[in-house]
């Protein structure tokens, strides 16, 4: 049997890979949730009688019945079930466990909840005004809060990044200042597996959890804090995760599932339906981003001032970074040499669905605004937009916009590669021009640059009597291919064939540390840990006098002599590596001059790469990112009306399908300096970011109008053309 594919490929093509929703335990109950229909309301009374009358019901819980604290990844501001007040439409108000899912859902429908609607605040700008209704009475009191009592009432987080000269002073000296405002809506991560978990509060007081969560060790800590138990009482078990894209890093519904298990003494499974996930999970932040860009008489960027007002929704619980802001905003303008930079991101609480991370959190919001503004500037200055970018692009040796001592910057090479690929594609695939002038054609570019970050993890190698090695890792494979990366490293280090290396996810008791799959860090940490573990294993073989042996025979001998022995390597990689990756994307579009319909004919992605551990897996990450970027550019929006998400199914929340894709060209630009024993660069959050700006810039090139709001719909282009009188 050939096994050149993914490490998890066999399990996944045979249907044997177990996801959280596939777990089944003896005596297991099924859960369903009751959610608030109101964005903001006082909870007056909950009547459970009718719910209890459904046969098979074992528990009906409300907030008062849950003996735990609030929860969150950093800021613990979210109740397990609402108490006294609901803060968004979709918030959990009650939970039911029953012998069948049908009974649980029927009982949930019969829970009677009496509300007194309260004035809701639905817009972040309004929320920050002193007289706005308060989402939380005292948000600064939550554990982990990053705001104080003197801050505006609904402030969730404020971050300012600043470097260089005074921005206002430099702007005032610039002959050209471009002042633009862009709007980015909420979006859903679009993983196909809705949130699922199984929790079992065992008779001895320990808790076992199976969850669609990409950071099991962090989940354990977050649950322990919420339940008020020591972390070693919580054990998170291995399962595959059916897509993540930033959305599967939180406890989500696990605490309520644990509460139901504790109340009933049985294991409980909770799988939300896709509508609940689309309307009440943790979509991308919506943001309004104002950009002021100052340019001198030679077409050189001098100053950049970015101010984002961001909707954080009703809770900050779903964000993992310390300041619960979005690090992507810090990237604003970072592809260019700019003397003075100031970036401010204000996140407000509102009575809308709580926001979380989505692949490259904050990056798309910043990039769409800044890269559109750069294009506006180029066109106003009558400069070619690519030429304008190249005139200003950051180069190796430059400090970054926020003072970063980058070890290299490959923007120019990558841009030239994108341009060459775009030229190769010229004319190809275009339909006849005999269309009566219906289609206007255009090309647009956008640049993106992202820093790499470290993290920590652990890898264990267990030699087997048949000469193979079982590799235990503390993180799941949520699709990113990290189990395959680990297998490849172990294969290379030990010169073993793929079928002699078995990668398995360990549970949280077996391995000690891991920062989870996120921030595109796992290829760095896991490749380093795997290489180190292999070195240790070779050392053990040497100590046993087995170094002259053929390796598989040596491994088998070690397993025979020392049954159960293993080696473990922990690594901690610095958070700041001063390594970045550069991506340049170019869109070739046509726009229907009458209707505003936009068709992307071709999308070129040029990407700075270093060592690639597994080329097809790397390619999938690149291509998957591009298509996700197209979704953000053209069709994806979590639509809200009166604070309620109304795009509650995949007919209305449209993910890109294969039939709607343009020609995708990916150019890898090798030769970058990577990190660690395999010289790798992160790839997971690179290619989804700049697509939206590239498409918007191509639309501007085609029909001369600027779309300042995503997604770039036919309606938006039509209106912009009408306003411009075109």
């Amino acid at each position: 049997m050939r096994t050149v594919g993914r490490a998890d490929g066999w399990a996944k093509v045979t249907g044997r890979a177990a996801y959280a929703g596939d777990v089944r335990l003896p005596g297991m109950l099924y859960a369903a949730l009751v959610r608030s229909p109101h964005p903001h309301a006082r909870l007056l009374r909950v009547v459970k009688d009718a719910a209890w009358s459904v046969p098979g019901v074992c528990a009906v819980l409300t907030g008062e019945d849950v003996p735990y604290g609030t929860y969150g990844r950093r800021v613990r501001d979210m109740p397990v079930l609402a108490r006294e007040v609901v803060r968004f439409a979709g918030e959990r108000v009650a939970a039911v466990a029953a012998h069948s899912l049908q009974a649980a859902r029927e009982a949930a429908r019969r829970v009677e909840v009496h509300y007194e609607p309260l004035p809701a605040v639905l817009d972040p700008e309004e929320a920050l005004r002193p007289d706005a209704p308060r989402v939380h009475e005292a948000a600064w009191r939550y554990p982990g809060a990053v705001v104080g009592p003197d801050d505006p009432p609904n402030l969730q987080s404020r971050r300012v990044w600043q470097y260089g000269e005074d921005v206002d002073a430099v702007l005032s000296r610039c002959p050209y200042v471009f002042d633009e405002t862009y709007t980015i809506p909420a979006a859903h991560q679009g993983y196909l597996e809705p949130h699922a978990c199984v929790a079992w509060w065992k008779p001895d007081g320990s808790v076992e959890v199976w969850a669609s969560n990409k950071s099991p060790h962090r989940l354990r800590a977050q649950l322990a804090a919420c339940l008020g138990v020591p972390a070693d009482r919580v054990r998170v078990m291995p399962v595959y995760v059916g897509g993540d894209f930033g959305g599967k890093g939180s406890p989500m519904d696990v605490p309520v599932c644990v509460a139901l298990s504790q109340a009933t003494g049985r294991p409980v499974k909770l799988v939300v339906d896709y509508e609940e996930d689309l309307t009440a999970a943790n979509p991308r932040h919506s943001a309004v981003v104002r950009v002021r860009l100052g340019v001198d008489g030679e077409g050189r960027m001098q100053a950049l001032d970015v101010r984002a007002v961001v909707d954080g929704g009703a809770y900050a619980a779903f964000k993992p970074v310390e300041h619960v802001n979005l690090n992507g905003f810090a990237e604003a303008g970072n592809t260019y040499r700019i003397r003075a930079v100031r970036i401010e991101s204000l996140i407000a609480y509102t009575n809308t669905v709580p926001r979380g991370h989505m692949r490259s959190p904050g990056s798309l919001e910043a990039n769409f605004a800044v890269e559109s503004t750069v294009d506006v500037a180029a066109r106003a200055l009558r400069l070619d937009p690519l030429e304008f970018r190249l005139r200003n692009v950051l180069r190796t040796g430059d400090r970054g916009t926020l003072g970063e001592p980058w070890m290299e910057v490959r923007g120019e090479e990558v841009a030239r590669a994108a341009l060459a690929a775009l030229r190769e594609g010229e004319g190809a695939g275009e339909e006849s021009t005999a269309d009566g002038g219906r289609w206007a054609r255009g090309v647009g570019f956008a640049f993106y640059c992202r820093a790499a970050h470290g993290g920590e993890t652990e890898v264990e190698l267990r030699p087997q009597p048949d000469g193979s090695v079982v590799v235990r890792v503390p993180f799941p494979d949520q699709g990113g291919g990290q189990h395959t990366v680990v297998r490849n490293v172990v294969q290379r280090e030990l010169a073993l064939p793929a079928e002699a290396v078995w990668v398995q996810q360990a549970d949280t008791e077996e391995l000690g540390t891991d920062s989870g799959v996120g921030g595109s860090r796992v290829s760095l940490t896991a490749s380093a840990a795997a290489a180190q573990a292999c070195a240790q294993l070779r050392e053990r073989l040497r100590q046993e006098g087995l170094e002259g042996w053929e390796l598989r025979a040596a491994l088998a001998e070690l397993a025979r002599r020392r049954p159960g022995e293993s080696v473990r390597a922990q690594v901690k990689v610095d958070e700041e590596l001063w390594m970045n990756s550069f991506c340049v994307q170019a869109a070739r579009v046509r726009v229907d001059r009458d209707t505003g319909e936009v068709r992307v004919d071709e999308l070129v992605t040029a990407l700075d790469v270093a060592g690639v551990l597994n080329p097809p897996s790397h390619r999938a990450q690149v291509e998957g990112g591009v298509v996700m970027g197209l979704g953000s550019a053209l069709c994806e929006e979590v639509v809200m009306e009166d604070g309620r998400v109304v795009s509650g199914n995949l007919h209305e929340y449209r993910l890109p399908s294969v039939s709607t894709l343009p020609r995708l060209r990916v150019v890898l630009v090798p030769g970058g300096r990577g990190w660690g024993p395999y010289g790798v660069k992160p790839v997971g959050e690179m290619t989804n970011v700049a697509v939206a700006a590239a498409v918007a810039n191509a639309v501007a090139d085609a029909v001369g109008v600027r779309v300042r709001r995503l997604p770039i719909s036919a309606e938006a282009v039509y209106r912009a053309m009408q306003e411009a009188g075109r």
């Binding site: 045979t14 196909l192 097809p616 996700m628 995708l664």
Partner: protein, 162 residues
């Protein structure tokens, strides 16, 4: 107040099964819960994503849109029956080797559609492949490796047809 139940007979992966099911329970849920065939995944529950695709008498259907009682007397085939543990179906092998999957949640449904499609179209064009996959969503791969996997699977299947 209890939901009516019905005892039905159906053939699942070549084995006759008799199950007593609530009449409103979907085929997907009965396959997963009653018959413990969890390779069939449930995503959107509205027939959009295609993750729950199985065969009914050899033809791909959305098992989230069918009630189990509607499958009575029919032959149901799921991903578990495409190959054996030691001998994968060539389409499974092609998806594995070409990285035609990442998180794997959409994969079983896509495999069911692709195996049926290649039966009818042994030498498909890229356009035909894209059309055949249009009813399936994959958020991870950007579809390119999936199309490559289908092309490779078609090549693997062709010599066997003589």
């Amino acid at each position: 107040m209890r939901e009516p139940v019905r005892t039905i007979q159906l053939s699942v992966n070549g084995q006759a099964s008799t199950v007593t099911v609530p009449v409103r329970k979907t085929l997907a849920d009965v396959l997963r819960e009653e018959l413990r065939l969890t390779g069939t995944h449930v995503g959107c529950e509205q027939g959009v994503c295609g993750a729950c695709t199985v065969w009914l008498d050899g033809e791909p259907v959305r098992s989230c849109l069918l009630l189990a009682v509607q499958a009575e007397g029919h032959q149901v085939t799921t991903v578990e029956a495409l190959g054996t543990a030691d001998h994968l179906h060539p389409v499974q092998q092609a998806f594995w080797e070409n990285h035609g999957l990442q998180c794997g949640f959409c994969t079983p449904g896509i495999l069911m559609t692709v195996v049926a499609f290649l039966r009818e179209h042994p030498a498909p064009s890229r356009e035909e492949i894209r059309e055949a996959l249009a009813g399936h969503l994959c958020r991870c791969t950007g579809y390119q490796n999936i199309v490559r996997a289908v092309e490779d699977a078609a090549r693997r299947l062709r010599p066997a047809r003589g």
